[in-house]
């Protein structure tokens, strides 16, 4: 414990409210009537469904196939029958639907065959593939596919592996309970990560308001005699659990936005992810459940081991929400998102279901003008000038907002928390960011379209030239042929030629005969007895008119021959 600790600027100390849910064991949740497993639960490309309605699945069976490398696999959380693969409302602020696999549990909860991985024989690629196949993603909330972060055999050696057990958001206690009650598994997972990534040192950062977790983790390390690991107690200050902030506190390194922390010799994983890595490698079990805190407006907060896809309402029911509950928030009160409904499923990103009521989280007071007091700048852990960003975002001057490092904003909410004018600052940044992303996307599409348009023009030009060249070649060839034919005709001895000519004549005669026959047939139809008297009269009239016209037109017609 002789580490020198660093600190990050800013941060806030809201009421932590951890005791509401930090007591008692991690409880299981009974199997729900149906599981709704969205296919796209992580950062990266959406997976493709590999099951269809009517399929039977076992627990842990793959139901969504990773699409590309920056994606993750999705698995059935329990055994049962796939009742549908359809659009269902996502636990997302948009309230929009996305493709999900609906499973009716059969009650057996039977695992399929486990596929553990032997790290001693596995190649780096195999380890990565295995983690991708097991659907392991970061469980701290960012749900970034873990196999992209665990890169064995990096060219640059990993100096520090940071394990994030800080859990700085108020109300949330899932990592705390995990460390307290399953410290051995956490440490085993961390040890596996060490084995894969071979860091010089491994620091497990835990906020000092979780003394029991710190003790449990230290005991687990001692029990396993693992000298590589070290628990570091970090000062409690939101957002100490942000990956960048924790790396800063533990190592003094600041990882800028848009750069990989491995370039600075650091990598950071959540304690929950360590458990998922352990389960995937040692037990061969994919990520099908996670620990979820239920807190807020409930009779007794607690933590539950929840199958991915369980409707939130079913989980909250165990904690008994009070009657005035008006919404669920996924995550904590600082960064959580309001759920569009109470039936949305628990996903890999769900660390907490915060049950809200108008009394517990009252609607914010009216927004006042910004007085540039600078409180937000003092609170900002990314050292930004939030009021300037607010100004530019509000006025939709996005270029300037980017110049003032809008994208370094981690949306931690500190600025809005301290703002005396009650401005929803983070909402402005979210708005500006998504507008900028949309514009960049449009720009990319436009550049692409320009390229394709220009290529098409080039191609058309080329085709025209090629056609002209072909035509020229053809005419030249035709002329040659004609001269050649002439030369042949002039030959005195042309027995072959006459035979050929005869054959041609015969062909033409045959064709003429066919044509004549067809004509006659047509005439036959027109004059057939099948025609009614009316029709025949009509035909006769037409013929009469034709004859008349022919008579009139005779002087002008070329003489018949």
């Amino acid at each position: 414990m002789l580490n020198k600790l660093f600190s990050f600027n800013g941060g806030v100390t809201p009421a932590y409210e951890k005791t509401r849910s930090a007591e008692g064991p991690i409880l299981p949740v009974p199997l729900p009537a149906e599981l709704v497993i969205p296919l796209h639960q992580h950062v990266g490309g959406p997976p493709r469904p590999v099951v269809q309605a009517g399929d039977r699945v076992t627990k842990g069976q793959r139901i969504g196939k990773a699409d590309g490398n920056a994606s993750a696999t999705v698995h059935a959380s329990t055994s049962g029958l796939v009742s549908a693969v359809e659009m269902r409302r996502m636990p997302h602020s948009s309230g929009l639907s996305a493709l999900s696999v609906i499973i009716k549990p059969d009650g057996l909860d039977a695992w399929g065959t486990a596929k553990p991985l032997d790290l001693h024989t596995a190649s780096p690629t195999e380890i990565r593939d295995h983690l991708m196949q097991m659907g392991v993603v970061g469980l701290g909330g960012a749900v970034f596919p873990t196999h992209l972060k665990i890169v064995p055999g990096q060219p640059k050696a990993l100096e520090t592996l940071v394990i994030n057990g800080a859990e700085c958001e108020p109300f949330i206690t899932c990592d705390d309970l995990l460390m307290r009650q399953r410290a051995d598994t956490v440490i085993a997972g961390v040890a596996l990560m060490c084995q894969i990534m071979k860091p010089d040192r491994t620091l497990i950062g835990i906020e000092d308001n979780k003394p029991e977790a710190i003790r449990a983790m230290q005991q687990a390390i001692e029990a396993q005699h693992d000298k590589r690991l070290e628990v570091v107690s970090v000062p409690t200050r939101y957002p100490a659990g942000g990956a960048k902030q924790l790396i800063r506190v533990l190592t003094g390194i600041e990882v800028p936005h848009g750069e990989r922390s491995t370039d600075y010799g650091v990598q950071c994983f959540n304690v929950g992810t360590a458990v998922a890595v352990h389960d995937a490698i040692k037990l061969g079990r994919p990520l099908v459940s996670r620990i979820v805190t239920v807190s807020g407006n409930v009779r007794r907060g607690g933590n539950y081991d929840v199958l991915i896809g369980t409707p939130m309402r079913d989980v909250v029911a165990l904690s008994e929400a009070h009657a005035d509950t008006n919404r669920y928030i996924m995550g904590g009160p600082m960064m959580g998102v309001v759920m569009p409904g109470m039936e949305v499923p628990v996903v890999k990103a769900t660390n907490c279901i915060l049950v809200g009521s108008p009394k517990m989280f009252p609607p914010p007071p009216p927004e006042m003008p910004c007085i540039r007091c600078g409180e937000c700048a003092i609170a900002c852990p990314a050292d930004l000038q939030p009021f300037e960003l607010y100004w530019f975002s509000r006025a939709k001057i996005f270029g300037k907002a980017q110049e003032y490092h809008l994208f370094d904003c981690i949306e931690c909410g500190c600025c809005a928390y301290v703002c005396p004018s009650h401005i929803p600052l983070v909402d402005y940044y979210r708005f500006a960011k998504s507008e900028i992303w949309a514009r960049e996307h449009e720009k990319e599409a436009a550049d692409h379209a320009r390229e394709r348009y220009e290529f098409r023009q080039y191609r058309e030009e080329r085709e025209k030239e090629e056609k002209a060249a072909r035509l020229a070649a053809k005419t030249a060839a035709g002329r040659e042929k004609a001269t050649a034919a002439l030369a042949v005709a002039e030959q005195p001895d042309g027995s072959n030629n006459t035979a050929e000519k005869d054959a041609k004549k015969a062909l033409i005669a045959a064709a003429l005969a066919r044509a004549k026959q067809q004509q006659e047939q047509a005439a036959a139809i027109n004059t057939a007895a099948a025609l009614s008297a009316e029709q025949q009269a009509e035909i006769a009239a037409i013929e009469a008119r034709r004859a008349e016209i022919r008579e009139v037109a005779k002087p002008h017609l070329p003489p018949d021959n």
């Binding site: 929009l96 402005y428 960011k433 379209a449």
Partner: protein, 183 residues
């Protein structure tokens, strides 16, 4: 008097030299204005501006032959950007060139398509795949929504489908809706 003249002359020489140096040092290649205008245009290549594509329209604007409000897909925002770039007055979109519509992509009803390839020939960005007497389909990602494939289709099997909002392309809304007090 002489001193003043000398000072003025010296100033002229120094400034002239500086300007000459700057013109050599900071020389700009090509015609960046057309490029800049082209970068603002949406690259739909729809021809609603009465030019055969975005680049020709950009050239016409640069030459001063075309107004900046002839591009319906670029919309009001595009006109504002052009006005900013060129220092011209903002004008509302000229209605004879069309109206701003939500972004759409073409969709071929594959039951009706007869495989005539006319749409393939019309597509300015080669976003339609197919061959003679084979069914055609649109590569939605590459479709600019220019609608140029609609008129040539002999069986009217192409429709424009607005791009649906999904979790991936959903945007955060402007956070505050002002209400003025009522009195």
């Amino acid at each position: 008097m002489l001193a003043a003249v000398l000072v003025m002359a010296l100033g002229a020489i120094v400034l002239g030299a500086a300007l000459g140096f700057a013109s050599v040092k900071f020389r700009v290649e090509g015609d960046p204005l057309v490029e800049k205008i082209d970068a603002i245009l949406p690259q739909t290549q729809c021809g609603q501006c009465n030019y055969p594509g975005c680049k020709p329209y950009a050239e016409a604007i640069a030459k001063g032959e075309a107004e900046i409000n002839q591009c319906p897909p670029g919309g009001e925002e595009g006109i504002r950007k052009l006005a900013d770039l060129l220092g011209r007055e903002f004008k509302p979109l000229s209605s004879e060139h069309g109206v701003e519509k939500p972004k759409s992509v073409a969709f071929i009803d594959e039951q009706t398509c007869i495989g005539c390839t006319l749409c393939i020939q019309a597509c300015p960005v080669d976003a339609i795949v197919g061959a003679a007497k084979q069914m055609h389909t649109i590569i939605a990602d590459q479709c600019t929504g220019c609608e140029l494939c609609l008129p040539p289709c002999p069986v009217d099997c192409i429709t424009m489908e607005p791009i649906a909002e999904t979790v991936e392309n959903w945007k955060w809304k402007y956070p505050v809706f002002p209400i003025r007090s009522t009195h």
